[in-house]
């Protein structure tokens, strides 16, 4: 047993987190910043933060992740990191020449109290920021929220580039939240089918799922441009996908630039995708084409074909709030039973949403925000499940408890394909259901007696 010390009996813990279902803000800020075209993320703190975040993102996306750091020393920790950041800005523009540097703070620089906008002003005055280049900053102290909060804070900093113009450009802002590059691509494809002209931000497609061609572009073709971000203030509306990841940026565009917004769930599964497509055609004033009806019908068809294998199967999930909310709805909609859910990200609203979504099912759901995987494992020991869904760290629970396991979320360190195949939208729903079915039936085949082993399902 790999998690051999985890007892079945659950005791209250107030101080120690064991096997977290979250990580810290800066890595989210770094991922979001990679979704800006020509952007070099910069970590204002010790160089270890940057090394860890780059490693985590690289291991997940299997793509180059360039990012710089202020490399704090003991001295900068005492006297502040201004000198380091000023030097970094000069070096970065001289050596790498990005369009944008997106700086996020760390627990270290936040505890010292470094003020990014004041340092940016100084850099501009010193003339180290070339004409036409952009600096943005997000405050992402690691001791508040989680990687999801950090992502949201950087997305908000991106939205803050938008200028109120009073004019409308006919475009719709779509804020996809922390999803895979392939998911972002799929959202753009759906929007194109609907006929909505959208600005997607951040957009890591074309950045973190690039080709191998013998050329290394430190700043690949993908990503939302600064010009597009500035233009977001003239959009006719904003759709924010996910309360935790995307709502703050949407609300900022609303208050700052009077761009009305709707906060939707991430489009995982039939119903959430329906709501996304419906909201998009309403705000863009278009008609949903038959292609989309056809794709939707295919997903309904697959649900009906597979329903017999899903019915009342118990599922445990861990991950991030926006993803788990949408996925819970999806599972309930196909008559599976999400029984245990944990996110490390704080937010009582998460627990309320999950309880609402599972209301009417003949069991009381175990749900915890600011929980950890140690607790989830204990719940599973007390009430076993048929399927576990979460990031790679779930494989240890899955092996010990012998549960079929689907890797979904961040980080996925031991499998590939998640960068290339979406799970959002109707097409993404098809792929996800295929994964669920494979996991369940591979197990059935493995466990079947010779008498009961069958060719046709």
């Amino acid at each position: 047993m790999l998690l051999r010390h985890t007892p079945k009996e659950i005791t209250e813990r107030s101080a120690v987190t064991i096997n977290p279902a979250k990580t810290c803000q800066p890595v989210g800020a770094m991922y979001a910043a990679l979704g800006i075209h020509g952007c070099l993320p910069h970590s204002h703190g010790s160089q270890g933060c940057c090394a860890y975040h780059r490693s985590a993102l690289t291991r997940h996306y299997k793509e180059p992740v360039s990012a710089a750091t202020s490399s704090f020393t003991e001295g900068s920790s005492v006297f502040g990191g201004q000198a380091n950041l000023l030097q970094a800005i000069n070096n970065i523009f001289t050596v790498y020449n990005p369009e944008v540097i997106a700086v996020h703070t760390t627990c270290l620089s936040e505890t010292i109290g470094d003020d990014l906008s004041q340092i940016f002003d100084k850099a501009r005055k010193e003339g180290t920021v070339p004409e036409g280049k952009t600096l943005i900053g997000a405050s992402t102290p690691s001791y508040v929220g989680s990687h999801v909060t950090g992502f949201s804070n950087m997305v908000k900093a991106m939205a803050d580039l938008a200028e109120p113009t009073g004019k409308k450009n006919g475009k719709v802002n779509v804020i996809p939240g922390w999803v895979e590059p392939a998911d972002m691509e799929e959202i753009k494809r759906l929007a194109q089918l609907v006929g909505a002209d959208i600005t997607l931000f951040p957009d890591t497609s074309g950045v973190l799922n690039g080709p191998l061609s013998g050329e290394f572009h430190m700043f690949p073709q993908g990503g939302v441009t600064v010009a597009e971000l500035m233009d977001c203030g003239s959009a006719i509306g904003t759709l924010a996908l996910g309360e935790w990841c995307s709502a703050d940026a949407a609300r900022l565009l609303d208050t700052k630039c009077k761009v009305p917004c709707r906060i939707l769930d991430m489009p995982f599964g039939l119903k959430a995708t329906d709501r996304f497509v419906d909201a998009l055609r309403i705000v863009a004033g278009t008609v949903v084409p038959d292609e989309i009806n056809y794709e939707r019908g295919q997903l309904v068809d697959l649900i009906s074909d597979m329903h017999q294998y899903f019915y009342q199967k118990k599922v445990a999930l861990f991950g991030d709030p926006d993803q788990l909310i949408a996925m819970t709805e999806f599972l309930v909609s196909i008559d599976m039973w999400p029984v245990h859910l944990v996110t490390g990200t704080p937010g009582k609203r998460f627990e309320r949403r999950i309880k609402e979504l599972t209301k009417g099912l003949p069991y009381e759901v175990n749900v915890r925000a600011k929980g950890d995987m140690f607790l989830l494992h204990q719940w599973i020991k007390n009430e076993p499940v048929d399927l576990l869904i979460g990031n790679t760290y779930g494989k240890y629970i899955a092996r010990d408890e012998d549960i079929p396991f689907i890797r979904w979320g961040f980080p996925i360190l031991d499998r590939q394909g998640h960068q290339y195949f979406p799970t959002v939208g109707y097409k993404g729903g098809l792929r996800f259901l295929e994964k669920v079915l494979n996991a369940l039936l591979d197990r059935q085949d493995r466990d079947a007696t010779e008498q009961k082993f069958e060719l046709v399902y």
Binding site: L2, L3, R4, H5, P7, T11, S14, A15, V16, T17, I18, P20, C24, Q25, P26, G45, S46, Q47, G48, A51, Y52, H53, S55, A56, T58, R59, E63, S66, A68, T69, S70, S71, F72, T73, E74, S77, N84, L85, Q87, N90, N91, T94, V95, Y96, C107, L108, T111, P141, S142, V144, L212, S213, G214, E215, F216, H217, G344, F374, Y393, L413
Partner: protein
């Protein structure tokens, strides 16, 4: 845009150095110039390089932090100690199972390596202090697991807000009674790289565990293996070979280690140092305090493994052991030779670059040499001058603001436990026969004249080097992997070995030969251009026209 298409073999090393520095602001160029060395044979000395100095802000470095060196590298592979990180959640999360340290806890042994422990500090802890939460967390860990030891790691904000983790540790150790609790002041901002963290970790291991258990362990030819972390199972293979030779490993610092191994390590009769950078000072302290001599070994590469085994046997000087070692070599080598002969026609004459660690950039050159591959450029991420130039420079190393605040332990002979392992005459006679204790000449003397030695290589320089010199393989870490491979050059991780290993010992050499053969000869590198990109012009007409 960079591309590695055009191989410019005619470039002189001095031109390459110039190219690397060209784009930098003057101040950066001046600093980097001292860390980029063109190797040359000097009469009685090795050329001098600048190392273990600050990373330049904004220059994309390969380095990590002090915490990573302490928690990740040294303490990460300790399985029966609960490693509790005091800080915001990220630091503990990123060091959770990501270094591929393998361990063998048996069916029911203690193993906390699969767990991740953190006090998950919140803003209220930063404002009001985190000591109470830390003490409560230690109590909760103890109540749940009753481990033999709990260690505490400071992250950046802990040092800033002034939490006294050492006092908390002392108090909790006293309170719990049967659990050793101690702490590491390994805030990420200390020092200039992981190296400071190794030192902080090793000092505390030495102070709080080594020497605790005087019980004499069974076995002959007892050694400590220092600086071997069992990445990808390296330590398992070394253990297998040593066991086969009849050599007893009392402790490994710290691959596949247990608390008791550290506690008993002072009962060994020889310390063998693998990674000089991360642990040479422990070997020194073991000698001063307990009288255990040390030698440098290297189990990376079949020849180096043979050399190291013979060296250990020579130290003990027992004919039985010497014969046994020769028998093991004779038994192991045919399989190694067979694979080497198989890959050689496909690897001979190819070139490599290695930028990793504090020892591996040196050690792995031996393996490449066995495959007929030449190292064009190499350097370390976090090493010091002695790892480049040899131990003779140690007395002259400059102490600067960053190295000054990393504690050097003052150690003296333990009145009860110090025991010379060999008499003065025995030692002298070994030395006269050419046996070298505490020897490490560094990477530079082993590299070709005209090759490049570069300290703390960064992303920009890596890309330039590959572009200009187009090696057949590049070795570094995960952060560098894909930017290099985008250029069409295979990249091998030598921190975590990608998903491979072991690469140490005899079996490891076989694995490495095969792996490098696979990488440098993979068909995929021939697919980078589509046919219409290679021949864009329509030069023929269709037959039906």
């Amino acid at each position: 845009m960079a591309t590695a298409k055009n191989k410019l073999v005619q470039w002189e090393p001095t031109d390459i150095k110039k190219e690397l520095l060209k784009k930098y602001p003057a101040k950066v160029a001046r600093k980097r110039a001292k860390q980029i060395l063109i190797n040359e044979a000097l009469e009685n000395t090795t050329p001098e390089i600048t190392a273990n100095v600050r990373t330049i802000p904004g220059i994309i470095t390969m380095r990590g932090c002090t915490y990573a060196g302490c928690k990740g590298v040294i303490m990460g592979p300790t399985r029966d100690i609960v490693n509790l990180v005091h800080g915001p959640i990220g630091c503990s999360f990123y060091a959770w199972l990501t270094r591929r340290n393998q361990t063998d806890a048996g069916v029911d042994g203690e193993n906390y390596m699969t767990y991740c422990f953190s006090t998950d500090m919140q803003d209220s802890d930063i404002i009001f202090g985190g000591e109470k939460k830390l003490a409560a967390a230690i109590q909760e860990v103890y109540d749940l697991f009753h481990p033999r030891a709990i260690t505490i790691f400071a992250t950046c904000p802990v040092g800033l807000i002034g939490d006294d983790i050492h006092t908390v540790a002392r108090n909790m150790k006293e309170k719990l009674g049967d659990c050793n609790v101690f702490a590491f002041s390994c805030e990420g901002y200390k020092g200039v790289s992981q190296s400071a963290g190794h030192h902080i970790a090793n000092n505390q291991v030495f102070t709080h565990m080594v020497g605790e258990n005087d019980e004499i362990k069974p076995g002959e030819y007892k050694i400590n293996l220092l600086g071997e972390y069992n990445i990808g199972g390296d330590g398992f293979e070394i253990d297998r070979v040593l066991r086969k030779c009849g050599i007893t490993t009392i402790s490994t610092f710290s691959g596949n280690s247990t608390y008791d191994q550290f506690a008993s390590s002072h009962t060994a009769d020889l310390s063998c140092v693998m990674c000089h950078r991360s642990i040479n000072y422990v070997a020194d302290m073991m000698e001063t305090k307990y009288g255990i001599p040390w030698i440098k070994v290297n189990f990376i590469g079949a020849k180096s493994t043979i050399k190291s085994l013979r060296k250990i046997a020579e130290y003990f000087g027992d004919q039985k052991l010497i014969d046994r070692v020769e028998a093991v070599i004779a038994e192991e080598m045919p399989a190694v030779d067979a694979v080497q002969q198989d890959v050689l026609p496909r690897t001979q004459g190819k070139t490599a670059m290695l930028f990793v660690g504090g020892s591996r950039a040196h050690h792995y050159q031996d393996l490449f040499a066995e495959m007929g591959m030449r190292t064009l450029a190499a350097g370390y991420e976090f090493a010091h001058r002695d790892d480049y130039e040899g131990r003779h420079v140690i007395p002259n190393l400059k102490v600067d603001a960053d190295s000054r605040n990393i504690e050097e332990l003052e150690v003296e002979a333990d009145p009860a436990r110090f025991k010379p392992r060999k008499s003065e005459t025995e030692l002298q006679s070994l030395i006269e026969q050419g046996f070298r204790f505490k020897d490490y000449d560094g990477i530079i003397p082993d590299m070709d004249s005209g090759s490049l030695v570069i300290d703390d290589l960064n992303q920009y320089e890596a890309e330039k080097l590959v572009e200009l010199m187009k090696p057949d393989i590049f070795c570094a870490g995960i952060k560098e992997k894909f930017s290099i491979q985008k250029l069409g050059i295979p990249m091998k991780q030598l921190h975590s070995y990608d998903s491979g290993g072991p690469y140490a010992g005899f079996q490891g050499a076989i694995n490495f030969y095969k792996e490098i053969d696979r990488l440098v000869n993979s068909r995929v590198w021939g697919y980078l251009k589509a046919p219409w990109q290679e021949n864009p012009e329509l030069s023929a007409t269709y037959v039906w026209e």
